[in-house]
Subunit: 144 residues, 2 copies
């Protein structure tokens, strides 16, 4: 089985992008200190938001499979990057996040052994976590 | 130089996540056919939105550096994934996108040689493209 997800994007200005995903509109921009018009979260913040949303879904899917009580999760995410490369400066540093740190706090009565098993499954079965942790082919071509 | 980006997320239900990124709120959910309450784009659609926003910024940054005229871009993105793994079925398939395809259509008078050079720089200097195309360490720990 294969699912295909599609979005369409249009630049509204050099930093603001309006993205349509089905019936939803997502506004991506940059903060003023990165030269943007600050009308939405920025691309790398959306990466963290995508990971958060995915981890929430997986947290509940796997808790249900394990019959583990779970009434909610709080997730804190952060990532570090060196802006040198996208700003065009000479650098050996990679363009994107060098590391992403995530702390998931589950609202549960489960014991620590159960939680360790749960967390491992959440991490390895989350599509967004997989796409970040492992190389994903991205082909970028020019339209007419 | 190192920039740290942070977001906080809270599950509102097993599929709906409310993410705070600075002063912005991002709603992530799943469509009804994936068991969700459909109040926002889903995690893997946000991955494409993040990539779109990043490519727009880089398109303009690099056009400016190259003195290439650019009045806007349209970007179409799609990705395929097999839902078997996150649904808990036995599978060899990876959890996330197997491939992401992007088509960037620039509004420009630049010639094809200039455009090829521009596209290469856009792709290699985009932080989100880097985080997808190359492995990114993600550490996931349990909060208290």
């Amino acid at each position: 089985m294969k699912l295909t997800f599609k979005v369409q994007a249009q630049s509204e200005n050099p930093t603001k992008t309006v993205v349509k995903a089905r019936n939803f509109e997502v506004i991506v921009d940059e903060p003023k200190n990165l030269g943007g018009t600050d009308e939405g979260a920025n691309p790398v913040e959306y990466v963290l938001a995508a990971l958060a949303g995915c981890l929430n879904v997986m947290s509940h899917v796997i808790a249900k499979e394990m019959n583990m009580p779970l009434t909610g999760v709080t997730i804190d995410l952060e990532g570090d990057l060196d802006p040198a490369k996208f700003m065009g400066k000479s650098t050996e540093a990679r363009a994107g996040y060098q590391e992403i740190r995530v702390k998931i706090t589950p609202d549960t009565t489960a014991d620590s052994e159960t939680l360790a098993k749960w967390l491992h499954a959440v991490e390895t079965r989350c599509p967004v976590s997989d796409n970040l942790q492992n190389a994903t082919p991205v082909s970028i071509t020019l339209g007419e």
